[in-house]
């Protein structure tokens, strides 16, 4: 038998830092003949200045386009010949790249990541071509009314902090950004002292360290990255927006300013979210693709079981700086949004006033304990978790998460609910569908 879940902390990886500042995390996992390599950069859409929104994500696209030592037409095939998969994503705090393949591809994976860090080309023709790909990606997102509402709600909830703009960027910026903007941004942030390299899998740590030194040791440290220092001022009153647009279904979203991952309120709020909408776990790469267990969650019972909504979801992300706790509701046909909203707010007011019960605390902890086990079912997922937390806070936030969750008390949850769910701190967004064919589109804040 494997170790019982209750006694299994998240394993701590071997950690060290190269002379050039590159952080390295290695964890040997011999469950399959695989290795997963992730290279994380502390750069995301929060680092973007006005006029350059979307530059982090566009750079990520450019960093798949060939390097000084990997010709453009030979990018594909390097990992595929080992049966591997590769990918990447950009979000508000981070940009990351991964390869997972058979263990004998480890050296190739490290080579690719070292090239990506130091030697990408940003050929002007490629920049131009990718502009169209990214605008196509943006338009694909706009096809989804719920995603559009999320984007607009976030932009309304933040007045000052760069978390307010979407990771993909605003269309006018994508239309005008230049190759020099992109390349300058790349050179500024893609330096070893702004990165974390993670390896998890069937590898020998000392051998892997030797190969890391070989591929990355010669890359010069960059100038220390200067950051935007905007702090979002306290929200002093409820904000609202309504999108009226042709569509078929009505959506409601409520966003509250939420604590950062290192804040004492974070894990209590994670418990609170589990009570309200079901536990999601902490792996944004995998677990958010599986709906949470939520049939007995308060908001599910209040909205879905009563036929007012076909879906309700909560989202509390571990982030470097205070972001949002959002609850989204898909209204069933014929349910006025104000009815769904009043039921939702009533439930939130109740939990803010009365807290949760001991039974709910026990169930939420059991759910989270199970999700943490399920979240670590592959070398790719484990490596994601290590790198993600190291990039937004520290890897210890992840390795100590099971213990921290186990310690959360009823009083802590009540305090977190009182702090986070203040009416004056919320932003309420509606997507009100207009009949298809009416040719109207309107946004009100």
């Amino acid at each position: 038998m494997a170790t019982p879940a209750e006694a299994r902390p998240n394993a701590a990886p071997r950690a060290l830092t190269l002379d050039n500042g590159l952080k390295v995390l290695i964890q040997e996992e011999r469950t399959a003949p695989l290795a997963s390599v992730w290279c994380w950069y502390k750069v995301g859409s929060k680092d973007e200045r006005p006029g350059l929104t979307g530059v982090s994500h566009w750079c990520e696209h450019m960093n798949f386009k060939g390097t000084a030592n990997i010709p453009r037409d030979q990018v594909k095939g390097i990992i595929e010949q080992f049966g591997g998969a590769w990918n990447g994503y950009t979000w508000i705090d981070q940009t990351t790249y991964l390869e997972t393949a058979t263990r004998d591809a480890l050296d190739r994976m490290l080579f690719i990541e070292s090239e990506r860090m130091a030697s990408c080309l940003y050929h002007p023709d490629d920049c131009e071509s990718e502009r169209h790909v990214i605008i196509s990606e943006l338009q694909g997102g706009e096809n989804d009314p719920d995603q559009l509402l999320d984007q607009e709600l976030t932009a309304t909830a933040f007045k000052a902090h760069p978390y307010r703009h979407p990771t993909i960027g605003w269309l006018p910026d994508l239309q005008t950004m230049t190759r020099d903007d992109l390349y300058g941004y790349y050179r500024r942030f893609y330096v070893p002292n702004n990165a974390t390299l993670v390896i998890v899998g069937d590898v020998d740590t000392s051998e892997a360290l030797g190969r890391i030194e070989h591929h990355f040791g010669g890359i010069q440290a960059g100038t220390e990255v200067s950051r935007l220092r905007t702090v979002e001022p306290d929200q002093i009153g409820e904000r609202r927006l309504t999108i009226r647009k042709e569509g078929a279904v009505a959506y409601l979203r409520v966003g509250y300013h939420a604590p950062a991952a290192t804040d004492a309120h974070f894990f209590p709020l994670l418990i609170l979210d589990a009570v309200l909408t079901g536990a999601k776990g902490l792996n944004l790469w995998s677990s958010f693709r599986v709906p949470p267990p939520q049939r007995s969650a308060r908001l599910y019972r209040a909205l879905v079981e009563r036929g007012l909504a076909s879906a309700v979801a909560g989202s509390l992300m571990p982030t470097e700086q205070p972001f949002l706790y959002t609850i989204s509701v898909t209204a069933t046909n014929g349910t006025p949004l104000d009815s769904a909203e009043s039921v939702l707010l009533e439930e939130l007011d109740r939990v803010r006033r009365d807290g949760i019960t001991g039974a709910e605390l026990t169930r939420a902890k059991a759910q989270l304990r199970a999700r943490l086990v399920f979240d670590s079912d592959s070398v790719t997922n484990i490596a994601h978790q290590l790198g993600y937390f190291e990039t937004i806070a520290s890897v210890e936030v992840f390795t100590t998460a099971p213990a921290r969750i186990a310690e959360v008390t009823l009083d802590e949850v009540a305090a977190a609910a009182r702090a986070a769910l203040r009416p004056s701190s919320r932003t309420i967004g509606w997507f009100q569908p207009l009949p298809v064919g009416s040719g109207k589109s309107k946004s009100e804040v």
Binding site: H61, G77, V133, A248, L284, T332
Partner: protein, 436 residues
């Protein structure tokens, strides 16, 4: 990935098998097939129960009834209320996913190893004796109707569903919308759902797969306890109408002027899963629209022309001749150019075939991806269901590299000529686009 995060590229669709899965297979006296594979990755167990009662079992005039049944089957049993079930699942942190494909209705979940026995008993009861309460039916109908309305507002779904109707016309079960229509869902009754369950759910149609931290002997013992008393005759078999290959090119435009991007679905009917050309067709599809960022299609439409964020092809060889679908999301200004590029790549593949290098790359990729594709308990369980459903044999994962290795360039090029032809393509465009 977090909502709002921007993925860069598709995770490559990978395929079967690592050598030596060697699952333990048992057929219970009642006809239930039990497959067990122990692993030690995590103290968890993946359970995958597949009943041969997919949407092809929808009776005439009732498309969507199997889908509604799948939404209600887990909301009450002979001995448990919906609230009891909610408590049992939620207290263990379990998300139960119920899927409906053309041929299977599946209950899938992962639980902690300590909970395996109780959870298998719970899932078994759902399959054998659902109570289908009226109140639950009414609530789930509302959810399904909302989901249908969301689909109708989604260009990608509209394009794909309309393409399937073009490829499989005249009421063929592969061409029907799995969720049905709002009108039919509203009209469905509890009696109809109970009748469907009584007619189509039987032990001979069930395969129970358990992968994870549980010994096969225990899995067999628990499965025998759960399903041992379930005795029913085998349901009548459902004959699928023949699939007639297209004789002409067809093109449908669904204007959705409230959208920003157009979705293109382009496809053909191809072969059955048991066709000897399957492995050649699979390799051909990898080269056409899978390898790296979407194979040849991705090279042309995304990488060289910068026209689309996504473009890829998929092959779904099935009991009947399944579809090969090309899908792309493009700016409305680029629709015609994107369709022309798909035509061009398809025609080039038929005319010139693949190169030895492309075949070798695709083959190495598929064989090399086997350990990764079978890393997690859930992935192994899904693979074993496919293995059982198509009768591929318990050693299929071990034989797979040889099966792929035996395919020649002539085989692949013959498969391309057989399956693909721009003059017989079905094409659907949904989005802010209209024919002039």
């Amino acid at each position: 990935m977090p909502p709002g995060a921007q993925p860069s590229d598709f995770v490559l669709q990978t395929s079967p098998a690592r050598s030596g899965l060697d699952p333990a297979r048992t057929v219970l006296e009642t006809g239930v097939v039990v497959l067990a594979k122990p692993t030690r990755t995590t103290p968890a167990v993946a359970i995958n129960l597949a009943m041969r009662a997919g949407s092809i079992a929808d009776p005439p005039g009732l498309p969507g009834i199997t889908w509604l049944l799948s939404r209600v089957i887990d909301r009450g049993t002979a001995t448990r209320s919906a609230a009891d079930i909610a408590d049992e699942l939620d207290s263990r942190g379990i998300t139960l996913t119920i899927t409906v494909t053309r041929h299977l209705l599946s209950l899938v979940c992962t639980c902690l190893a300590d909970d395996f026995e109780a959870v298998l008993a719970l899932l078994g009861e759902m399959l054998m004796s659902p109570s289908l309460p009226e109140r639950e039916i009414a609530t789930r109908k509302g959810e399904v109707i909302t989901a249908i309305r969301q689909d109708e507002d989604n260009p990608a779904v509209r394009a794909t569903e309309t393409l399937m109707a073009l490829l499989y016309p005249d009421g063929h079960p592969y061409g029907r919308r799995t969720k049905g229509s709002i009108e039919i869902v509203e009209s469905l009754t509890r009696e109809q759902l109970l009748r469907l369950h009584a007619d189509r759910f039987a032990p001979t149609g069930l395969t129970a797969v358990v992968v994870g931290d549980a010994e096969p002997a225990r899995v067999k013992e628990v499965a025998a306890r759960v399903f041992g008393g379930w005795r029913k005759p085998a349901p009548s078999s459902i004959a699928l109408p023949p699939v007639r290959p297209a004789t002409a090119r067809r093109r449908v435009v669904i204007p959705m002027m409230n959208k920003a991007q157009a979705d293109i679905a382009y496809g053909f009917t191809t072969i059955t899963r048991r066709d000897s050309a399957y492995y050649a067709c699979w390799l051909m599809n990898v080269a056409l629209g899978q390898y790296a960022i979407g194979g040849r299609l991705g090279d042309s439409i995304r990488e060289r022309q910068g026209m689309a964020y996504y473009v890829s092809s998929s092959l779904d060889a099935n009991v009947a001749e399944g579809p090969l679908l090309v899908r792309a999301g493009v700016s409305p200004l680029n629709v015609d150019r994107a369709v022309a590029s798909i035509d061009e790549e398809v025609a080039r593949l038929v005319r010139d075939g693949l190169s030895e290098k492309e075949l070798d790359e695709s083959r190495r990729y598929l064989i090399g991806s086997i350990p990764r594709a079978l890393e997690t308990n859930a992935a192994i369980a899904s693979f074993l269901q496919t293995e059982e459903f198509f009768g591929l044999g318990l050693d299929y994962d071990a034989r797979l590299p040889d099966l792929l290795g035996a395919v020649t360039l002539d085989d692949v090029n013959a498969a391309a000529r057989r399956a693909l032809d721009p003059d017989r393509a079905a094409i659907v465009i949904a989005g802010p686009y209209a024919d002039v």
